[in-house]
């Protein structure tokens, strides 16, 4: 890998890792709130939807 390619990969990884890290707090707060507020059946539906939504979109042609 050339040094410019390596620098590009490092730059991309750094920015995306920062984004993932900064998204953790709000994801955790939202999940805690949903888990405390929603009835268990509603929460189960949300988790089930998450699985089916990922299944539908995760293999789209734009995924890679």
């Amino acid at each position: 890998m050339s040094s410019s390619s390596a620098a590009t990969v490092a730059r991309a990884s750094s920015f995306l890792a920062v984004a993932r890290t900064l998204n953790i707090p709000v994801n955790l707060v939202a999940l805690a709130y949903f888990a405390r507020t929603l009835p268990l059946a509603d929460m189960g539906i949300v988790v089930g939807f998450g699985i089916s939504s990922f299944l539908s979109s995760g293999f789209g042609p734009g995924s890679y």
Partner: protein, 209 residues
């Protein structure tokens, strides 16, 4: 080599094709979701909840196109800003809507708002970047090569999905839906504790990925 105008035409063509595929997937989901909710979730879901979820699936299917385009344009800084702002907007909107008494529908509407925010900001950034981008390598329009590259990635994605989600699918199929809720929350907590150190390390030392 194409011109900047050709690059814009290519991106529009990809986005249009992507929208068609996303809409088709969403319709299939909408048709199959009745079956999914009755046989897998084993609960009766209100039709409007399924309809708003199908809207989110269109946006979620398009998001990887936008993300890949921004990565291809090497606009990593803006991409990370868009990911942060859209995620925060979607999650906070979801919390506000649930607090307003919308229940599970509020969570799904929050997803839609977050994904829509991601889409709008990405499109604005792509439009801005393409004005300054003068050329694209001609190889990117070779569909056969692209498919040959993507096919193993699809297989890999399927295996990744199976390995990452099999436990939740098993709980979903074998136990009442309330168990899935408890399991999902516990699993997220575990991922948070497990992933926090890794994400912090990735931020400081990206080569560790």
């Amino acid at each position: 080599m194409g011109s900047g105008r050709n690059a814009g035409t290519l991106v529009r063509k990809i986005a249009t094709t992507g929208f068609g595929i996303a809409a088709a997937i969403s319709l299939v989901f909408l048709a199959a979701e009745e079956l999914f909710s009755s046989s897998v979730l084993r609960v009766h879901l209100p039709p409007d909840l399924l309809q708003i979820l199908s809207v989110d699936i269109v946006l979620a299917c398009l998001a990887p196109y936008m993300e890949a385009t921004l990565m291809g344009l090497r606009d990593f800084k803006y991409l990370s800003l868009v990911k942060i702002s859209s995620n925060w907007a979607g999650k906070l909107a979801g919390v506000a809507l649930v607090a307003a008494g919308l229940g599970a529908k509020g969570v799904v509407l929050g997803w839609i708002l977050g994904d829509a925010a991601f889409m709008i900001q990405s499109l604005l950034a792509i439009d801005h970047d393409l004005r300054a981008y003068s050329s694209l390598p001609s190889s990117v329009v070779n569909n056969r090569e692209l498919f040959r590259f993507a096919f193993p990635a699809y297989a890999s994605g399927l295996i990744d999905f199976g390995s990452d989600w099999f436990d939740q699918i098993l709980v979903l199929v074998a136990f009442p839906i309330e168990r899935l809720a408890a399991y999902g929350v516990a699993f997220f907590d575990f991922q948070f504790c497990f992933g926090l150190g890794k994400h912090c390390l990735d931020s400081v030392v990206p080569a560790s990925r």
